[in-house]
Every structure is written in C-alpha cells, then in structure tokens.
Symmetry: C2
C-alpha cells in the first residue's frame, strides 16, 4: 500500500470526509498535463505528456462539440468552453469539475487574459462576450454585441492580447471589437466595416496582429494591436474561395495558422495548397501543393516543419512540410478523421486525434515514427497546459 | 485547523513518518513557481509569480555564485547548477532538495534536453560535460573536453537544442562541440578553429542558431544547427572590444540576448550601446545609445520592448527600449547592483534583483510601475518554471 492510500485509509478511519480526498493526491507538477476532448461522451481525458498515458476521465461537462480549453497561469485549472454555453473550470490535479456555469445558450470558444485573472467567452446566443473572474467564475463584464437596429451579432474569433484586453469579431455586423478591462469597467473600441462575415481569427504568436478571416468575401481583416489607432486594413485580397466560389468541405481553422520566422503558413480555402505569406509585407510568397483542402496548418515550435490535416475526403492523412525547402517531407496516416494536432511545448512530439478510430497517436517529430497510441472515445481537440504560457492560444 | 493540518495530525497519531509529510501538501499547480538565487546564503527563495510573494526558503545548495536553474518538463523540479560543481534537484512542491551530486570541482551552468530526460552540466574543472538522468541524477555520459596534447579545456555556453543534443564551447581550445545522446552513447561532432576563447553562447529562441562570443578576438562564431554540415562561420566581425581594447567592466551575458521579430538586440561590449542585428543577414542594422555598458538585454516576450541592465558604475539602472522606434522609453532605478531580470512567460511583469538593496522588485511592463517588492538576501539570478517550455533557456 502506497503512502497516499495509507493516508486515505487513515483519513477514512478518522471520519474525515471523502469529498476532501483530493488533499491527499500525491504532489505532482502540472507542466506536462493536458486534456483530450471526447466529444460524443462530453468528457475530457486527462493525459500526461511525459509518460504519454491517460490519467483519468473528467465528465459532467455538457456538449463538447467544438470545445476548446485554456489554462490558468499555474497550470492547475483548465477552462472548458462547451458549445452549449457551459463554462467549466476543471481541476487537473484533483480531476474534478471545480466550478461550472451555463452562461449562454450557444458559445464558441474563449480566452484567458495575459495576467490569468479573467476568462472571456464568445457567445452566439445571445451574441456577445461574457467575462468571468478566473478564480470564482463570477461575472465581471457582459458585453452585448449590438449592431444596426437593435440586433445582436454572433461573436467569433475571441483572442487574448497584451494587457487586460480581448479582441473579437461580430459575424453579422462585419466588425472587430477590442475590449480593455484594465480599469474593471469594460472599455470597448469598435472597428466597423472590416468586411463581410468575419468567421474566425487568430493572433500572431507575439500578440501583435489580430487577423480575421471573412466568410462573405475574399481577403483578411488585419488589426495591428501596437497601433489600433490606425484601424483595420485589408490584406491578402485573393485569400478566400475566389470568384468561382470553390466548394469548401470544411472551413479551415485560423488559430492553426503557423508562423515560422517571418513567414506564415496558411490553409488555402478550397484549394489543395498551403500558402506562404511574408508577414513583413503581408504578400504571398509561395504556394505548397498538398494532398487535400487543409484544415489545420500547425508549426512545430521550432518552425522547421509545418504539419497539415485535411477536410474530407482526405481527412485520414497528415502531411509534414519542411519550411526551409517548402517541400513535403512525409505523408502519415494516423487514422480515420483526423481532427486536431497538438505539439508539446518544446516540439519533440505531436499528438494527433483520429476520431473514427477512437485513438490518439503520438509521433516523434524528428523520426516521424509513432511513440504511443492512446484509446479515446471519438477524440477531437487536444490541449496541453503549456498553452498557459503563450499569448493568443 | 485546516484539512491538511488535520491530516498531518491524524498521520502522526497513526505513526506515519514525518519525513513523508510532503505527501500532505495541498495540491497546487507548478506553472507560476520560480526561484530567486540568494547567492551569499547558498539558498533559493521559492516564489509565486501569481501572488508575487515568497513561499519558502530552500537551502543546502552549496556555492551559488553564478548559479543558474533549469526545470523539469512537469515544472515540479528545478536543477540548480552551483559554481562548486554541485548539481541539485530541488522539489518545488515539497520544498526540499530531492537529490544532490557534487559532480565536478568547478562548473558553470547547464541545460535540460528537449524531452526532459537528460540534464547536462558544463564543467571548468575537470573540463568537460557530464550528463545525468533527470530523474535519478545517475551519470549517463562523461565527455572530457580534450584538446591539443592531453589538455582539457573549460566548457562554457552549454545549450540544449532539438533532439537529445547539447552544444557547448571549449574556452582554451577555441572549439564548439555538439553531442548527440539519442542512441544512449554520446556521439560528438567537433568544430575546431572557431575563434579564440569562446566564453559564452546562446541559442536563438527557435533553436536554430548557436552563437558563441569570443573573448580573445572580435566577432562571433555561428553554427546553424539545421545545417551542422556547413560548419561554423564568423559573423559580425566588429562585435567585441575592438582594436583599441576598450575597458570592459563586466562581460555581457549572451543568453540574455533578445530577439524581436527578425532583429536581435545585443549588448555592445565596452560601449554604451545596444546593437540591433538583422538575423536574416547577420548584419548590424542600428545602434541604440543607452546609459552604460549593457549586461543583459532581454526582450519582453512579445518583442515590443527590450529591458537592459548595466555594468558598474551604472548598475543601479534599468532602461526600457521600444523596439519599434528603437528609442528609450524609460529609465528605472530598481535598487543598487541590478544583477538579473526575468519576465513572466506572457510578459505582463518582470522581476528584477537588486543585490545590494536585498530586494526583488516586480514591475508591470505596461505601466512600468512597481507591483511588488520582495525581501531577499543578496539576490542574483531569477528563474521561473515556465522556462521548462522553451528551448535553449
């Protein structure tokens, strides 16, 4: 019997509450923890990226379709944004749901402030952003996305940026809003007329640029957060489905966009290509042919490779591109319906979810060989606690 | 009585060993932990970067002059490299020295492998690198820095790079060595003739370039780790003390070099300047006048600012440079003998040690106002556990 079990036994004998048993969990660091979303089951699998094993299941999280997770700055808590408007604060050490609020009818992701004190959620219904105290989940701000004549827009592309600020886009309104909560009271700066139907966005890894993709027209809306006074401008006018409206089997995720040095690697929309863009000029620098319509284009943390997954019918493949030569290095087949990829913080491994094979495969990014396979029930997103240390993730 | 204390009381009653009391430490994440080196006392102060407070003192670490610390990938353990050849594995949760070996007579820093499994130490006496199992501190490799006719060089500038590889420089030999431990047996690649007396080195944040400063001549030795077959080349031939051998009050630290976008910010040697270098071409792009001879030039994680401290007699100052305009933003006076600066991972705060005022000051990097002051006994280096998630730190 290990000491922890002995302690629990002693505690039980002494009549202490079993609900406090987490106090007896053996000490462990949180830097190598992560979660795999088991979408259909509404459950997270807690994983250990050092041992490459599953540690526990955490359920009671509601509808986890399209769920995403951010982490507290101590790495202990994950904030889970469910599709059903649920915001759950999960304790990765105690393996429990520490707090949960259903804060809207329909929501789509969130962010945590640079100082870790505020968690913001992007809501479709009712359209807006709600901001919560990261510790207590008490409501701190409720920003309704009003536009036009008393209508509320769906909010998408919510990102944390420097300061107590969040930036997000209003789908129907064609606006980008920046909210500053440094004073405790939300101060909103509106950027109207940025383009038709912004549908997703990203922040560059340095936190400087907010880029929104447009569903309703081609091009991207760019906000330089070092100079918000300069407003939003349009870049990459050819980025999109084009005049002939190519069929798109799945809209790419913008947060997956990869930056390696001064070049961004973007999923082309509707085309079997990865685009290379020079972010010094925001001009296209090259196109790399790939196996299908890319969904996520993710840079290995050192920028030497980008890894790409695809929309149907090519969603059993993952391709690896060398960024120096801009050529394909390898085509992998992790399993059916690859939904997500997550690199370890220092990039030695990547975890890939293959939903319809109910598994997560871990690859060595140097040898491109599998290191481990974990069983998971219809896995979708994979999120590691080391995200706590990056802006805009 | 809190539950933890109750448990301890119960455990004591039950006759369980007090030595196991760490098992009852309340769960906490490790992502916001850090240590401040109290050099004269041979002690670490464990700090909490969320609450901005000291949590505990950890002593029994030997001579901590010029000590540095790396962290396990779970964030629980710090590996402390003392000047006396001591390698200590400190448990940040249990607040104890978990293991300690005195592995050489005189050493100067170390590194942890990308996968977190190996810890390497750079030794002056006897000259070489020893590599240890990160878990047990058992010796895994002993690489003697032989050169010429049976002599051993002091090893400096030891850095972890992608794979199970470390790169380091041999001071008297004028060589750079790369050791690959992927097979379990060290495979050494030698780069002789890189320049006279390499004295310190850095790896760029993407892990691609290893740069060694030369004490014995001007210029820098550059190894492209994506292409080690191309060998080491000399860059920035004017970097150094110059032909007139300027007086240098303290050699700058190279690991402090800052990268913001494609520009590196370097401490000039002997001059009151920060140099700006375009790393696409390795040509000097600008010089920024500052208050004294810079020692550390550190980029805020978003690259918007660099913070600079100085050699005597200007070592009570810290200056903040805006990287966009390349102008001074502010001159701060944190206290006497500023030795080190450490940014939080997402850059909202910076911790600065002022040795002769026995304090650490925490600044808000947006307002440049102090947020907290911690008492510390002759503080020198400050190291946060979030370093675990970066290559070459």
């Amino acid at each position: 019997m290990r000491i922890v079990e002995a302690m629990v036994a002693v505690a039980m004998t002494a009549g202490l509450s079993a609900a406090l048993a987490c106090e007896q969990i053996a000490p462990r660091g949180t830097g190598d923890l992560g979660v795999v979303v088991e979408r259909a089951a509404g459950r997270l699998q807690l994983v250990d990226t050092s041992a490459r094993t599953a540690l526990a299941a955490i359920d009671g999280l509601g509808d986890l379709s399209h769920a995403s997770v951010v982490f507290s700055r101590d790495g202990r808590f994950g904030y889970v944004f469910g599709r059903d408007g649920g915001l759950s604060k999960v304790d990765l050490l105690c393996r429990t749901v520490a707090k949960r609020v259903v804060q809207a009818g329909n929501s789509i992701g969130g962010a945590i402030s640079q100082d870790g004190k505020l968690v913001a959620v992007a809501n479709y219904t009712p359209g807006g952003v709600k901001v919560f105290d990261a510790d207590t989940l008490e409501l701190r701000a409720d920003i309704a996305a009003w536009y036009g004549e008393g209508r509320r827009a769906k909010v998408v592309g919510l990102e944390d940026v420097a300061g107590s600020r969040f930036v997000f886009s209003l789908f129907e309104a064609g606006e980008i809003w920046m909210v500053d909560l440094a004073s405790g009271v939300p101060v909103v700066t509106r950027f109207p007329g940025v383009g038709r139907e912004p549908y997703d966005a990203l922040v560059t890894p340095d936190g400087r640029y907010y880029l929104a993709g447009l569903f309703g027209e081609d091009g991207l809306a760019l906000l330089d957060l070092w100079h918000p006074e300069r407003g939003v401008r349009r870049v990459l006018p050819g980025y999109g489905r084009g005049e002939d409206r190519l069929p798109v089997y799945k809209m790419p995720h913008l947060e997956g966009w990869a930056l390696a040095g001064r070049f961004a690697y973007l999923p082309a929309i509707g085309r079997h290509e990865v685009l290379v863009v020079d972010i010094d000029t925001w001009q296209e620098a090259a196109r790399i042919p790939v196996a299908g319509q890319p969904v996520f284009v993710m840079a290995r943390p050192d920028g030497r490779q980008v890894w790409v997954n695809f929309a149907p019918p090519d969603n059993a493949l993952v391709q690896v591109v060398d960024t120096e030569t801009r050529t394909l290095v390898s085509t992998l087949e992790p399993g059916r319906v690859v939904l997500h990829l997550e690199f370890t913080a220092r990039g030695e491994a990547v975890w890939i979810s293959a939903r319809d094979d109910d598994r997560v495969i871990v690859y060595d990014t140097a040898t491109l060989l599998p290191l481990a396979t974990l069983q998971a029930d219809k896995p979708s997103g994979i999120f590691f606690a080391s995200r706590a240390f990056r802006i805009g993730l």
